[in-house]
């Protein structure tokens, strides 16, 4: 296959600034040279190339929108383009950057004390330290408000008890942002360092999706942390939900990257694969699939671009992020499935990136608010009626 040249049917390139284009191209080149040559072997082995953390840090992708602390201070469209290019590589790569930026650096930046910011943000930005985010529990996924993890005040600190599940980079993280309820029933955020007695991690094996990504369980058993490790400036579910809103924004962009990778590959394959004496791209049913893909990708690109412009203007509503996450992951998953179909038998082997993206996107469809949950968020927003059953 020829080198990836981007997917842009509507001249959306022209809506980007020079800086935004240069940033996208820098990340695209990096993914091409440093990540794509090694992703298949990591996918097979079920490992994440952790040695890339400092390299990603050097490139400047972690906390790229933050001001100060060694961060690049980019706008949100540039940040979105970074996520798009990383997921063009693999959803696991984008997840690693999403978690570090949106779920670890963001809460420390937005809710943390000056000491917490000074200590953690610079080393998380360089990739010298890795972070993870613990919200989901074995019995509480879409309904995090019912979490069981508890933080009890005890002497000069807090004692944490509970379990968090499906935590990206859990076992390699130097610091975990953990959400737990205090005795007042309110949710607060706590920073738990690796090696703290009573804090252990276990990796989840047997995954058929996100194989080139580390997914762990975090267990807290009478885990004592100092008072100073509590995030002082947020209380309640809006803390973790604010983080998820950041990460979902990145996912909406990332999914476009996954879809672009599958479309570009399937298009080239269809033009080269000869059956019945002509390229399969010449058949109407194949063309129909490719046309569906490029149309949906174009719509998805415009959706996230406007989403980014709204975010930069400060007028973004979380429900708008829900729409982009819901739609873009769905069309990316459908694009991957159609691409798999166009590749025929070749579509199931890892010589081609399609099956990897397709399986990854099943996870992306579920995490950070499932497709259905986002539909209900938008439904509540437009009808004024809450379908979650809360308060009914």
């Amino acid at each position: 296959m020829e080198k990836f040249r981007g997917v842009d049917y509507y001249g959306i390139e022209g809506l980007l600034s020079d800086d935004e284009r240069m940033i996208r191209d820098a990340v695209r080149d990096w993914v091409e040279a440093e990540f794509l040559p090694i992703v298949a072997e990591h996918h097979r082995a079920g490992t994440f190339p952790v040695q890339l953390f400092p390299k990603l840090g050097e490139l400047g992708v972690f906390g790229a929108t933050l001001k100060g602390y060694g961060c690049a201070g980019l706008n949100n469209v540039a940040y979105g383009l970074i996520m798009q290019e990383l997921e063009r590589g693999d959803s696991g790569l984008r997840s690693a950057a999403s978690v570090q930026s949106g779920l670890v650096m963001h809460p420390i930046y937005a809710y943390g004390s000056e000491e917490q910011k000074d200590r953690w943000l610079p080393v998380l930005a360089t990739g010298e330290k890795i972070g993870c985010f613990g919200l989901t529990e074995p019995d509480h996924g879409s309904d995090p408000g019912s979490m069981k993890t508890r933080a009890r005040r005890s002497g000069d600190g807090y004692v944490l008890n509970g379990t968090k599940l499906w935590i990206t980079n859990g076992s390699v993280a130097d610091v975990a942002v953990v959400w737990a309820k205090e005795d007042d029933g309110e949710i607060y955020g706590f920073l738990v360092e690796r090696g703290t007695p009573g804090f252990s991690t276990l990796d989840i094996h047997g995954k058929f999706s996100m194989r080139a990504s580390i997914t762990s369980e975090l267990a807290f058993q009478d885990c004592r942390i100092p008072l100073a490790n509590k995030l002082p400036n947020v209380k309640g579910l809006r803390g973790p939900l604010g983080c998820l809103n950041q990460a979902r924004y990145g996912i909406a962009w990332g999914a476009v990257g996954g879809a672009m990778a599958c479309y570009d590959w399937a298009l080239q394959y269809a033009q080269q694969r000869i059956q019945f004496g002509k390229p399969i791209a010449a058949f109407q049913l194949v063309q129909q699939k490719l046309v569906w893909m490029i149309t949906e990708i174009t719509k998805a690109q415009l959706l996230v671009l406007q989403l980014g412009r709204l975010k930069d203007a400060g007028s973004l509503r979380p429900q708008q992020v829900s729409m982009a996450k819901m739609n873009n992951v769905q069309i990316a998953l459908d694009t991957a499935r159609l691409a798999r179909d166009i590749l025929g038998a070749a579509g199931i082997v890892d010589e081609h990136p399609i099956i990897r993206h397709m399986l990854n996107l099943e996870t992306v469809n579920t995490y950070e608010g499932t497709h259905d949950i986002h539909a209900l968020i938008i439904g509540r927003d437009i009808t004024g009626v809450d379908a979650f059953g809360i308060g009914s």
Partner: protein, 259 residues
């Protein structure tokens, strides 16, 4: 130490080049432009020299139309301190000698102790500008260098240049012109902070008249561009081996005139 790096904007290596309706030019529609890869080695080496010496200035220069500014922005994003854009319609179809004369005028104004460039630009593959620039300036030149070491007082540079089966090592007095071969270094990626920081760096626009180039007389002009002829299809000689070999030998002798 002040270093000037000469760079050129070229079509991306994945571009399928087409000849335009003007048979002397290529069709530039839809082309993605990049910094010529050998020039990236030159930029990287200049930055390393500055970093190693702990002080100095790296100035990127290019000749080209408005779009060539992107190339200078890439150089600034990698870490060059400032840039000079020689942008004049009078130089639109500059041949290598004209380019060398214009660069020489920039060098005279800037007075660097070293000029670095790529061994050739990957568009026309002429590979001439570095040596011609040195000739116009009356400076020594080493092309296709694989390594360089500058002495402590920046009086001489020891270079290793690639020759068949080994390295040719020279000591050259500075100022000099060096052209970079692949293998000299591994160019860094422009970092995202570097890209944002590049906005604040100066790109000076220069016209031919600012360089005192009153009459521009190219030494070479392009008569026409031609696409490579399509490769003729292969031929399978049927029949049993004995006859097929006979026919193959006859064909190689009489049709292809290869033996």
């Amino acid at each position: 130490m002040k270093i000037l790096v000469a760079v050129k904007q070229v079509p991306d290596t994945a571009t399928q080049v087409k000849i335009s309706s003007d048979p002397k030019a290529i069709d530039t529609a839809g082309i993605t432009w990049i910094v010529s890869p050998y020039d990236e080695f030159a930029i990287e080496e200049a930055l390393r020299i500055k970093e190693k010496r702990g002080q100095g200035e790296v100035v990127a220069v290019t000749l080209g139309p408005d779009r060539a500014k992107e190339t200078l922005r890439s150089a600034l994003a990698m870490g060059c301190d400032r840039a000079i854009h020689v942008n004049d319609p009078a130089l639109a179809n500059a041949d290598t000698m004209t380019t060398a004369r214009a660069l020489a005028a920039v060098v005279k104004q800037e007075a660097p102790q070293l000029v670095l460039c790529g061994r050739q630009a990957i568009d026309d593959d002429a590979g001439a500008v570095g040596a011609q620039l040195a000739e116009v300036l009356g400076w020594p030149c080493a092309s296709w260098i694989m390594e360089e070491t500058i002495d402590a007082d920046a009086k001489t540079v020891r270079v290793g240049r690639q020759v068949e089966g080994g390295l040719e090592v020279f000591d050259i007095p500075l100022p000099a012109v060096l052209s970079a071969q692949k293998g000299l270094n591994e160019p860094r990626y422009p970092t995202l902070k570097g890209i944002m920081g590049a906005k604040k760096k100066e790109i000076k626009d220069v016209k031919a008249s600012d360089l005192g180039l009153s009459s521009i007389t190219p030494e070479l002009s392009i008569t026409a561009l031609e696409a490579l002829p399509a490769r003729p299809p292969g031929r399978i000689i049927p029949g049993d081996v004995k006859d097929a070999v006979k026919e193959l030998v006859r064909s190689l002798r009489e049709d292809a005139k290869a033996i």
